[in-house]
């Protein structure tokens, strides 16, 4: 199977979920970078050329919102998918303000994951 030539940054603090999802993503994409919080994610973002970001919201050290705000402030337009266990409106609105592609609530099914990834990459092509 030919892997798509994309680099994905995946930020998630729960190790169990992160390892599984990253493993699955790696079957499809050339490069998948893992970070356990926003701070580590930001470091990887600075050091690599990234096509798509998937991030959790509530994480130690630097949360998802803060991370997105930081890269948006620096002018980055990389599509971001938020994957959070929070279903409350406030968090959702906060994230939408930061020009994200999709806000998905955990747990996420295989079909839904495929769907949002497609939407994410589509938004690159549009640009």
């Amino acid at each position: 199977m030919n892997k798509e030539n994309h680099t994905i940054l995946y930020i998630e603090d729960e190790e169990g979920t992160r390892v599984n999802v990253a493993r699955s993503l790696r079957l499809k994409y050339v490069s998948v970078l893992e970070a356990k919080d926003g701070l580590e994610g930001y470091q990887l973002y600075r050091e690599n050329s990234i096509d798509l970001i998937i991030t959790d919201l509530l994480m130690p050290n630097m949360g998802g919102i803060e991370f997105i705000r930081k890269i948006r402030d620096e002018g980055s337009e990389i599509p971001v998918i938020v994957m959070s266990a929070y279903s409350n409106q406030k968090k959702l609105h906060e994230a939408e303000e930061l020009n994200i592609v999709e806000y998905v609530i955990k747990p996420i099914s295989r079909t839904r994951l495929k769907e949002v990834l497609e939407i994410g990459f589509q938004s690159i092509r549009v640009k």
């Binding site: 729960e14 599984n20 999802v21 266990a85 929070y86 609530i105 747990p107 295989r110 994951l113």
Partner: protein, 847 residues
């Protein structure tokens, strides 16, 4: 402060100079409360060993005669001082001008002895009891009998013969006796008896109280003080030298012809009543006096309820308000300043200004102690660990802001507690690990202050947590902020400190069982300092300490004064007064009207408070559910991610078939379902703002489905009978809350009464104006006595931990105030039936 010390010194010199002067002795008569015996040993000792003489007194003893009224003897100047029972408290309250100077026996020696066949006091009904007349002196015995439901009219009182013969010859079934006298006689004669001591049943009555007239205390306060101090000294001597004093009684004061053995027995018993190792001899506890007064009042011995204050009954030495002992006074003179170490990082106990001035809660308490006692303190604020080392080395005299701990007790004596603070679990505001109680700390990292012994003690119990010991509080905050620690222990000051140093990111997440109790620790060789501090703290009083606590910790009064309401209320009042004055209506009607208004306004205010309480509870429930939702979804998310990996792996190896795909999809739909469930709960707690149209059927079935799981596990059958599309207007979530409360109560009672075939019926009936929802159970109904009270606030049949007693009260308020309906309850054949009557609106075309 120096003036005070000079004054104290002068006083001391004066006392000493007086003792040297044996020229002019004041002659005083002391009325005893019984015949000569060891009961008055301290007074004999004070006389015979010259303690009275040293302070310029010559005391003569008057023996008790039958029918002597001791209070009367003193008031009519036949005696100057008297010794008496607790009954003098009643005499004072009944208007006698007397004052209590000292108390010697902390317990009354009066007990009841019964023949062996009487095993419990309940057996005394219609039995002959000697010496149990209905007099104030027997209140301890009657109080005890009351616990067995035996009244004074239930027994046959036989006047006392002052011997134990009738008891030994079994002419009486029981008699009152003194542990100090009759018990010895009974034992000596080999009598068999059962002993009932009121002390065992909670009686707390003073005995052998030294008192005098109010005049004496006003005109000769220093003589009263001398009489008191010399008598105390006499008792100290008598208890330490029992044999010698018994010999003295045998020689000079043996009008009863007691034997040496009897007197020694009495001496031993009396030591157990004076308890010199527990109490300072002679000391009077005003709370105890008040308790005794209350008991007398309850028993009807206080005739008129005048406003005499218990405090004024107790003699105070004006020049020595703390009743400091000589030793303590000398200690103060010898120790101009006590240096206490304290933690410089412990605001607001300790606040350190740039120029090194220490203020704060501790400083204020200590300065109050100085003001009262004359003992001066200096607070040395430094690193807490270093301060403890210094205290150990005695380069400082002790510690402030410390708890009482075994380790510290090795080198310090501790005062009474001067502040108590609840210990709490502290987390960051978002509380990522969702810690709600001490159990949740399992597997998490807790940061504690290295030298905080209370935290250490709690931490040692937390074997399933990782404890990180840090040097100071700032580090603890930093660790939590950077995710290196999940929680910390705190108290009232922790959040204060965090906010003050610019970390407003923390909250008290849960209360711990422990409280932080602080006491002043003083080097072991200075016990006087501790007793001075304790006497001062006692004089300052809890209320004053609480006031200071509020001031420094910015603790608000729990209930704030409602100024707007007050203004409205005052406005209403003034208006009413003006109108009424203008119209010249009679006063009586005005009063009634006013009273009604006051009650109405108060009720409104109380109802408002309760509603606010309820709402804030709902809001925090909503927050809590949001947290649970988050916590709940994490593992669900992990399950789905595992499905992802399984799918990939099976596809790669070519093993994946239809059945596997079907099962994997099933897992995913189940996790989705579980995730949605939590949203249902959340919606239930949402605070709707706007009234809306809703179908009764929907609200009822949603309420039932919230509790569905527990109904099932408790095997409760639920039947609904709702035919039509009954449309209502209002707040569906509020109605849902009420339904859940009622359904939940029904469930609780069905399970607690273990009802067979437990069932709840929910039905809706329609009339021309109303819809009536009825919820009935088959649990047997509500007891007649309480059915009127179920809607009262704070009424609950559940255990404290399970119910607030507000559920039905709030429900009624919601239905009647917010939904403009009615909520009522009645018993049916099988159980209780709650009815919610809601206004019916015109049928709308729903299509």
């Amino acid at each position: 402060m120096y003036l005070l010390k000079i004054f104290a010194l002068l006083l001391l010199l004066l006392t000493l100079s007086l003792s040297a002067n044996d020229q002019k002795l004041d002659k005083l008569k002391l009325q005893l409360q019984w015949k000569h015996q060891f009961e008055f040993a301290g007074f004999y000792a004070a006389k015979e060993k010259g303690f009275y003489k040293e302070v310029g007194l010559d005391v003569e003893f008057i023996e008790f005669e039958e029918k002597t009224d001791i209070t009367h003897e003193v008031l009519s100047s036949k005696a100057d001082y008297g010794l008496s029972y607790s009954s003098i408290i009643a005499d004072y309250m009944n208007g006698k001008s007397i004052i209590m100077v000292a108390n010697f026996f902390k317990q009354s020696p009066l007990v009841l002895v019964t023949q062996k066949n009487i095993k419990t006091l309940a057996d005394l009904k219609n039995k002959k009891v000697m010496g149990l007349s209905n007099s104030i002196h027997n209140i301890t015995l009657f109080g005890m009998l009351d616990k067995f439901h035996v009244k004074s009219t239930d027994i046959i009182n036989i006047p006392t013969t002052f011997t134990i013969d009738d008891f030994i010859n079994k002419k009486v079934d029981a008699m009152s006796a003194f542990t100090t006298n009759e018990i010895y006689e009974l034992d000596k004669r080999g009598a068999q008896y059962n002993l009932f001591d009121p002390v065992v049943y909670g009686a707390k009555y003073y005995d052998v109280n030294l008192f005098t007239t109010l005049d004496e205390s006003i005109n000769h306060p220093s003589r009263v003080q001398k009489m008191k101090e010399a008598s105390i000294r006499g008792w100290e001597y008598a208890l330490k030298n029992k044999e010698e004093v018994v010999a003295l009684i045998l020689q000079k004061y043996n009008s009863q012809n007691k034997t040496r053995e009897a007197l020694l027995f009495e001496a031993q018993q009396i030591e157990n009543l004076i308890l010199p190792h527990v109490y300072d001899i002679g000391i009077i506890d005003k709370d105890r006096v008040r308790t005794i007064f209350d008991n007398f009042k309850e028993a009807g011995f206080i005739k008129n309820d005048n406003s005499k204050r218990v405090e004024n009954f107790i003699f105070k030495d004006k020049s020595n308000p703390l009743s400091l002992s000589k030793k303590e006074k000398i200690f103060i003179l010898n120790h101009p300043k006590i240096v206490l170490g304290t933690d410089k990082r412990w605001e607001p106990y300790v606040l350190l200004s740039d120029d090194g001035v220490v203020s704060g809660y501790d400083a204020e308490v200590l300065s109050l102690i100085s003001e009262l006692s004359g003992l001066d303190f200096e607070l040395k604020a430094g690193d807490w660990a270093e301060m403890q080392i210094e205290a150990k080395k005695r380069t400082i005299d002790g510690l402030s802001t410390g708890g009482v701990h075994k380790e510290r007790q090795k080198y310090l004596n501790f005062s009474d507690i001067y502040i108590t603070m609840q210990k709490t679990i502290i987390t960051t505001l978002d509380n990522p690990k969702n810690i709600q109680n001490i159990e949740d700390l399992k597997g998490h990292r807790i940061a504690i202050h290295k030298s905080n012994l209370v935290d250490e003690k709690i931490a040692q119990k937390m074997i399933d947590s990782k404890i990180i010991r840090l040097d100071n509080q700032e580090d603890i905050f930093n660790y939590m902020l950077t995710g290196k620690a999940d929680a910390a222990f705190g108290n009232g000051t922790t959040i204060y400190l965090a906010n003050k140093i610019g970390f407003p990111y923390f909250k008290h997440t849960a209360n711990l069982d422990e409280t932080l109790k602080l006491a002043f620790g003083i080097r072991k060789d200075w016990p006087e300092a501790v007793s001075i501090i304790n006497k001062s703290l006692n004089a300052i009083g809890e209320n004053r300490l609480l006031e200071i606590k509020r001031k420094w910790f910015y603790l608000e009064n729990k209930k704030e004064f409602d100024y707007i309401l007050f203004a409205k209320f005052a406005g209403v009042l003034i208006l009413i007064v003006l109108i009424f004055l203008y119209r010249q209506y009679n006063i009586k009607r005005l009063n009634i009207e006013l009273k009604k208004r006051v009650e109405e306004e108060l009720k409104k205010s109380r109802d408002k408070d309760k509603m606010i309480f309820h709402q804030s509870k709902l809001i925090s429930m909503g927050e809590m559910i949001e947290n649970i939702a988050h916590q709940w979804r994490q593992p669900l998310s992990q399950i789905n991610s595992a499905v992802l990996v399984i799918d990939d792996t099976l596809v790669q190896s070519g093993y994946k078939g239809n059945l596997v795909e079907e099962k994997l999809s099933e897992i995913e739909s189940l996790t989705k379902y579980m995730s949605n469930t939590i949203d249902d709960f959340k919606d239930f707690y949402a605070q709707d703002k706007l009234p809306e149209f809703f179908l009764l059927r929907d609200v009822i079935s949603e309420s039932i489905s919230i509790l569905g799981g527990t109904f099932k596990s408790n095997s409760i059958e639920i039947e609904t009978d709702i035919e039509g599309d009954y449309l209502c207007n209002g707040y569906p979530s509020e109605l849902k809350q009420v339904l859940v409360v009622i359904l939940n109560n029904a469930q609780d009672i069905l399970t607690s009464r273990e009802v067979n075939k437990a069932k709840i019926d929910v039905a809706v009936e329609k009339s021309s104006k109303y819809y009536t929802i009825s919820i009935s159970d088959n649990a047997g109904g509500i007891e007649k006595e309480i059915i009127d009270k179920v809607f009262d606030p704070y009424f609950t049949t559940k255990h404290k931990t399970q119910g607030t007693g507000l559920g039905l009260y709030i429900s009624k308020m919601i239905i009647e105030d917010s939904l403009l309906g009615e909520l009522s309850v009645q018993n049916t054949e099988n159980g209780a039936c709650f009815k919610i009557k809601l206004k019916r609106i015109k049928d709308l075309d729903l299509c």
